[in-house]
Each structure stands twice: as C-alpha cells, then as structure tokens.
Symmetry: C2
Subunit: 121 residues, 2 copies
DNA sequence: GTAAGCACTTACCTTTTGTTAACTACTAAC
DNA sequence: GTTAGTAGTTAACAAAAGGTAAGTGCTTAC
C-alpha cells in the first residue's frame, strides 16, 4: 500500500541530498557578484568597462576576479579581439543558460519580496 | 505592430529590474547558511542542537546569529516551551514556503552541476 | 602634449564571516 | 558528584570577501 504524500515534510535523506545540491550550487554561483554578472551578460555580450558600468557598486578588482572564476567554471567566455585597439568581450556560455530557472525564480521571489517590504513600510 | 521576441536578449531596463530583484533576494537569503537552515527546517520543526547536527560545519555562534536574522525576516518562528526542561523549537513559517521555487531550482541545478563535475572528473 | 578611454593589476585596508574554546545555567542519568 | 545533554553567549582570533586608490601600457581625440 502506497502512502499518499501531500504537503509532507521531506525525509532526512532527501534533506541531506538537498543540502548537498544547494551547497554545490552556492559554491560556484554564491557570493555578491556572480549572479549579477551572469544576469548582466544575459542582456548581451559586454566588455569589461561596460560590465562595470552596468553593475552598480562593483569594483574593477572584484569584476576581474569574478570574471576569472566564472570563466574557469564555464559560465563565461572571454574573447580578445587583437587590435589596435585591443577589445575584450565577455559572453555567456550555453552553460550559463542552464541557470535560467534559478534566475527566474530568484527574480520572481525578489520582486515579490520587494513589494511586500514596500507595503509593510 | 508588435515585435516578436523569441530567444531575445533582455532589454537594459529588464536587466536593471532583474539586478534589483536578485539583489533584494540575496540581501535576505544570501550567504553560506540561510538557505541551508531553511531547507533543514523544511524537513520539520527542529531544536537548536538538532539543527546544528543536521547542518554540516555550522558553529553554534553562526547558527544562533543566522536564526535571529531569519526570525527577524519572517522565515522562522522561535517557540519556547517552558519546562522543565525548557525546550526551544524552530519552525519554518508560511513565508519560507514562498521560497519553494527558488529552492527547487537550486536543488535541480546543483544536482545537475554535481553530476557534470563527476563525469568530467 | 594633455586628457580620456580601454582593460586591467597591485597594494593596502576594512568589513564580514567564521572558528575555537570557554562559560552560563539548568536537568537528568549514573 | 561527575558526566552528558539542553540552549545558547562571550571573547579572542583568523580567514575570506570586499572596497579604495593608484598605477600600467596602450590608443585615440583635442
């Protein structure tokens, strides 16, 4: 006989699995800047200074560091167009597209939360 | 005449809106521990030491601090059952349920990413 | 030739985050 | 009375993350 599971608490095993999965996710896309960079690139390939202007508050140092991380982890491709002038382009890879649902749900939730805070004053 | 938008890059306005929304979200649920605590509580009401045992690597100090934050932001309810012995329970609120899609997408993505890393060695 | 833009890097500093260990105060078991 | 468990707090410290400012070497515009 099957037990109907509706609105049921998750099992300890499932809990551990989720903790591991979310831990793995946060390891590569956690922190203040990584998702913001990926979002910004999702509006199109950008150059270093364009990114810095688009992302409020990020310093050149952080942007440089985070872009290296994102490149290593396969979210971003860096292309140097030998000049002169030398132009460096950053574009999102297809792997960064796999974050679509994560970004969409965070966007929705953040919008809802912002609205809730606004109402509450 | 309407422009068909399929697989189109997002507009600068939409990009800014998303950056704001995701920024608002990360402000309250960002960091190493908050989502892990919420996930753990989603498997049922827990006491302080139960939480600490369930979440690998968290110290009593961090757990205490993060629980206070989560309570202030309405994700967790703290209930003291006057004893003896005094028992303190932490339970997820209905507001933490609004994170369902965020947690689900992060869980899926993290699982996929973990599997990808495993295959690549 | 001076200023400004590009794409960063470097050094220094502050803030945040996190660790460790000790301690409080109470209860229950041995 | 000693040990262990409950639910934390506190102090001291270390590490990680992030910010600030200046500098590099190049090119183009005025």
């Amino acid at each position: 006989m099957e037990t109907e599971i509706l609105n049921e608490k998750i099992s300890p095993q499932e809990c551990t699995a989720r903790l591991n999965a979310v831990g793995d996710a946060l390891y590569v896309i956690g922190g203040k800047w990584k998702l913001r960079i990926i979002i910004t690139l999702s509006s199109g390939t950008k150059r270093f200074n364009e990114l810095q202007r688009a992302i409020d508050g990020i310093s050149a140092k952080m942007l440089s560091n985070e872009l290296k991380d994102l490149e290593i982890n396969g979210f971003v491709r860096r292309t140097v167009h030998e000049g002169p002038p030398v132009v460096v382009e950053y574009e999102p890879t297809s792997y960064s597209d796999t974050l679509h649902d994560v970004l969409e749900s965070l966007n929705k939730w953040g919008t809802m939360h912002r609205e809730k805070l606004r109402k509450e004053g």
